[in-house]
Symmetry: C2
Subunit: 309 residues, 2 copies
């Protein structure tokens, strides 16, 4: 099986939506990416850090899905990274109520020896210098590196961010962030500029409006599945990245054609994520359910127009 | 050839975008719908009204495309409907600078005798009572009626609007209007509620984010083509409706499968509309160009995932 390394946060989230609110539940980019990627036949490892307050049963959740957690460092005297947010009625915008970095502040990720030549590396949203330090540890130049980031790093550490962007193959970024990073309103033009920064593949996530995959002049669009209700959008972007990376790792094929499928798998998994609070829906997700929803994606997008005449 | 009747405005527009501004140019819902539908093999007629100030060469533009203009009433002593607007930098929002109804104020559309049994009737954005008066003139119960409307009528003449909605087969409406009409944020739920109001087909236009087609539990999504620059969005929704209706009229097939194709044709024509000011791009549009862009839509959305295993 292909190896997949996921570096990101494992955290506590407290979420408030128009449908209800949670106490501290499992959150963090690496948690969503890992659970999502665990739908595929891959050997994956999460590299992260938590405090002494992090419950064993959350760690067991990863282990039960055969995710290597040997490099989720536990700092006994520290506290786990905590984020809290409240979504507005439209579910597209949210206010951050609290961000407590805690043990994340001094996070020095260490990739397990056996994973330094992994097929795929996902760098979840973290300080760009931390992301760079992971790249320095990898031993195989052919590892496909997928980077996620956000506007915070553009505002505060743009130079470091540009350095790490230069070194990755794929970037996943949302539409507003793509515009901020490039100063271009058109996503087509923004993707071109990001290509010039380094990544040969650019995935622009548009939330409920789907996702675009760019590779030079090739472009592919995957809609989000229209849903009756979005319960909690937290982690949808990371779940997308996890599905995308998991599928690529399993199939060991990074052609544009296969990348398109990976985008559909990512969108499919993200469509489950938003149905319940936090990681709850991902935890119970069955492969038959994924299959049924992939069919829904086919039905949603398929049309027949013959252009040969 | 199938007959298509288009009832709507033929107008002057003055548009300002970040790319420039126009003097009074050809505008109006029926103009866009008619020019767009003229890409198909259909017998179409525009029913509208203009003033004595309306230039003959604009009327010739329709005639040259074999559009019946016998019921574009010319009120010599009146002035043509005029709309003026300014788009913001994001091109998704605009301010209306002027709306002069002029001859539109007393518009009493009269469907040409030969078109009262038309295959397709498009009711462009107008007062719902005017739209209803057109329905009263039609003689064939099997005419497929496509209604376009906007938030203005929801705000001011909701009861009349609901009456006309009850009588149509297809409604095209944008996402915010669908939400306003139903009080539902989810477009899936909104479409359900609109089904209950009458139309068995609901098309929700999301501008640069594409369009959704609902028919009971069937749903289809067509993206908008990602463009490097949107020059002027005016008329894109009407151009969509014209392509949608023109294709249905030509093919005389209103199965869901064919409706999906019609949505793609509508999206394709709309993608041209926004490339230049007003109707300019539609006027010069060649069928080969349409064909090439249809291929781009296929490439944009096509993926292969086998689910048989």
């Amino acid at each position: 099986m292909s190896k997949l390394v996921i570096v990101g946060t494992v955290a506590f989230d407290a979420v408030e939506t128009p449908f209800g609110k949670t106490d501290k539940i499992l959150g963090g980019s690496a948690s969503y990416i890992g659970l999502s990627a665990s739908q595929f036949d891959v050997d994956s490892a999460i590299v992260s850090v938590v405090g002494g307050d992090f419950p064993q049963n959350y760690l067991d959740l990863f282990s039960k899905r055969d995710i290597d957690i040997s490099r989720i460092e536990i700092i006994k005297e520290g506290k786990t990274f905590f984020w809290s947010g409240r979504y507005h009625n439209d579910m597209n915008t949210r206010d951050t109520l609290a961000t407590e970095l805690n043990v994340l502040e001094n996070f020095q990720p260490k990739v397990p020896e056996a994973y330094k030549d992994a097929k795929i590396l996902v760098l979840g949203n973290l300080h760009p210098l931390v992301q760079s330090s992971v790249l320095d540890q990898m031993s195989n130049a052919s590892t496909l590196v997928i980077l996620d980031t956000m506007n915070f790093w553009m505002d505060h550490t743009l130079k470091d961010l540009l350095e790490v962007i230069k070194r990755v193959n794929v970037i996943t970024i949302n539409d507003e962030e793509a515009r901020q990073l490039t100063g271009e309103h058109s996503l087509v033009t923004a993707a071109k500029k990001i290509h010039e920064m380094g990544p040969e593949y650019v995935v622009i996530k548009k939330g409920e409006h789907g996702a675009l995959l760019f590779n030079g002049t090739n472009v592919f669009f995957a809609p989000a599945l229209p849903l009756e209700s979005v319960f909690d959008p937290t982690g949808a972007g990371d779940t997308f990245a996890g599905g995308f990376a998991g599928f690529l790792a399993q199939t060991e094929n990074i052609s544009f054609k296969n990348m398109k499928k990976a985008v559909i798998y990512g969108s499919t998994l993200a469509s489950f994520c938003v149905e319940k609070f936090g990681t709850e829906r991902l935890e119970s997700l069955k492969s038959e359910e994924v299959r049924t929803r992939l069919q829904a994606f086919k039905d949603l997008t398929r049309f027949e127009i013959e252009l040969t005449t």
